[in-house]
Subunit: 438 residues, 2 copies
């Protein structure tokens, strides 16, 4: 049972420069953060139905506020969601610009949600940015333990406790300062506190900057599965200070790269090719390479989210490798593997399965393994993940519908994928047996 | 500091028959559930600005499905919220009509959330209604302990545990079978499970039928305050089988009447006058009187919610007496007083304060005390509630904005109120001291 044509959601939907809304703000050098040898170039528009459809529905350039003239913001990417639209600011040193952050704070009270690792590095700076020349605003903070294993209801309650004990009201703002775990938890807390208050994302890991801080997916884990409890809830803005990556451990950097690779594979072949040429620059933390990877990732995510905010179809393609990856994270105990590490191994498994189905060439499979190996990411699941363990955990995945597990699989040329439940079960079994012990 | 004219949100906004959308379905007798001597009659439309505004924005008659010709549904009230619109079915014996319930079930799996009191009475009947001639649907249930004191995160987790252990997916439907606590918890669980699944309200208490099941407010309590964690999340439908009131204890019946009285006071003077004449019929559970009180309450609530789903202003007026009432519930320990009992005492306090401010006549104050006494509801808070206890709990009320406590107070003729933070603090102090020990 091959995927039907109608399920081929993202094929031929690779990046369209005309349809996105990154902007160079006034005062920023024209190519400040874009490495010139490998600057992303748009392929010529093809007049396929999918392309036409995409060009029509990817909304762009929502009227969000421009940073001030002297700003260090090198890029603004708009996430266009009607009255829930918001800007993503990307640049080096943005936390040194109080105006940028302050304009998005609602009310007079702020609660910064962060963790024990990030607080010593950036809490003081963020508090300064919130209050500098702004005596009306007071800042509270709650410092959570660090790690995926604390992304649970007990830890979430600490955020509510702090918010209620310090008598925050509906006109307050929550600020997520940290990686994906902090962003997901702070966002869900903001969604549920008093049935919804404003929040701002300040992601400090590459993973959060290229993926989890954008698009409004928030939530916590359940012992039986990842992100099973949460909300779709959009922030007021995302503020990415690329300088925060200077303190990021190598393993965390690589974890973020797994999501960068994903965007290339599912919808942006030129971006994947750029990564193949620039992986050593990314691993060496060359600022212009990192800034470009972040910008292009945010643009891809913003395009997808603008078309399908609540994941009725297209948005699911952002989860390439994640069904296998979530099973690894759940099965090994949250935190043993970083999210991007699990996604990397999961991406190799999804690619392997796509190849077994005859949906992609051998060459794509090889390039996926090569680029993830170059990024020093795992390309197989841990030994403890048996076939049965994978199957039982994947059965509670959010993409199961009426009992049928739907997967994101590559199909067609590089940069094309499908989200489908119509695949030969034998291929899934073969992939699981190829990568796992029984 | 008297309330400014602009804060007079709900004045002159008493019920408008033209603007609501209750319908008599095909086959139902024209006045099956409306007591003829006291049938609600519309006052003539006045061309005041407030009236014109209301007539324009109260949307009505959304195209929802009609019950079948042989249906026992005596009334359908539509809650008009664009793509989140839904019908409220009101009638005796609706749980004997499988079609009505089944048409609103999405997917093949249902989770009924109920409690230890309601399950023995109605779980079997609801399961039958969901599955009769409908072999594709399977029903799970989770039976929670009964009572406001269990409206907490630990109990909520039992719903998630059951949903995940039984491998429900995004295409499932949650059904809330019980009173307000069950409805609020099941609704919040539905909002957060897999970031949102469909749900249906089957309220079995008068309180839930006239108020809490309608309008999409869901949530749980925090030890420091009522309903501080939750979501605005609308059901697919509300199914009110008035026969379920046959098993309701007298004290619970009176609790629901407190909210019925509220609608009259804040926006529907003719309804209040009807209640004054028909309170003994309500307390004697005369079916036609109960059905009319439920219908008119749902209509009032639907009108308000359609204008202000997320409580940016007008909707707050539905909380007359609730700020004082929530303080009583929190201060005495959840469950010591029923919600409506606390609201009744709170309503008397809000009325007293309105009178001290010179905003209402003495006669209204007297009528409020009289009608609540007739309903055997408390008209003073419990002795344990001191002035300081009230003040410290009210400081974390959701209606505090930038540190200012806003209250719903009566102002003007019967059926008129304001939601405002602009009142003389002395009046609040005087009311607290008049009703409480220091």
């Amino acid at each position: 049972m091959a995927g039907s044509p109608s399920s081929l959601l993202a094929a031929a939907a690779s990046s369209s420069c005309a349809a996105i809304s990154s902007r160079l703000p006034r005062g920023a050098p024209a190519a400040a953060s874009i490495p010139s040898p490998s600057r992303h170039s748009c392929p010529p528009l093809r007049a396929s139905p999918a392309r036409r459809h995409q060009s029509r529905v990817v909304a762009s350039a929502a009227p969000t506020m421009q940073p001030p003239a002297e700003s260090k913001v090198s890029t603004v990417v708009d996430v266009d969601l009607g009255d829930r639209s918001y800007p993503i600011y990307i640049g080096a040193g943005l936390l040194d610009e109080p105006d940028l952050l302050q304009r998005h704070v609602h009310g007079k009270r702020v609660l910064v949600v962060t963790n024990t690792t990030v607080a010593p590095l950036y809490l003081e700076k963020v508090t300064w940015a919130l209050t500098h020349n702004n005596p009306n605003v007071s800042v509270e903070s709650v410092i959570l333990p660090d790690g995926e294993k604390y992304k649970d209801m007990d830890t979430l309650m600490k955020v509510f406790d702090k918010a209620i004990e310090t008598r925050l009201d509906r006109r307050c703002t929550f600020v997520a300062l940290g990686g994906g775990v902090i962003g997901d938890m702070c966002g869900f807390a903001a969604a549920a506190f008093l049935r919804g208050v404003n929040f701002i994302q300040i992601p400090t890991t590459l993973m959060a900057q290229v993926d989890s801080s954008v698009g409004g997916k928030t939530g916590i884990n359940h012992p039986l599965g990842k992100n099973l409890i949460g909300a779709f809830y959009q922030p007021q803005c995302v503020l990415i200070d690329t300088n925060t990556l200077n303190t990021l451990p190598d393993r965390e950097l690589a974890s973020g790269i797994a999501e960068v690779v994903k965007y290339g594979l599912i919808r942006d072949a030129p971006f994947f090719e750029w990564q193949e040429k620039n992986m050593s620059a990314l691993l060496a933390r060359e600022p212009s390479a990192l800034a470009y990877a972040i910008k292009r990732s945010c643009e891809n995510k913003a395009e997808v989210v603008a078309q399908d905010e609540k994941e009725s179809g297209l948005r699911a393609t952002l989860n390439l490798g994640h069904t296998f990856g979530h099973a690894i994270e759940t099965g090994t105990g949250y935190g043993a593997w970083l999210h991007g590490e699990a996604v990397a191994a999961g991406t190799v498994m999804a690619t392997d399965m796509s190849h077994r189905l005859g949906w992609i060439d051998e060459s794509i499979k090889k390039r996926v393994v090569d680029i993830l190996e170059q990024a020093k990411l795992p390309i197989t699941p841990p030994e403890s993940m048996t076939v049965e363990k994978f199957k039982s955990i994947m059965a509670v995945d959010k993409k199961v519908a009426d009992g049928l597990l739907r997967l994101i699989l590559l199909k067609g040329p590089l940069g094309s994928c499908v989200f489908t439940g119509e695949y030969d079960r034998k291929a899934l079994d073969e992939t699981l047996h190829a990568f796992c012990n029984n």
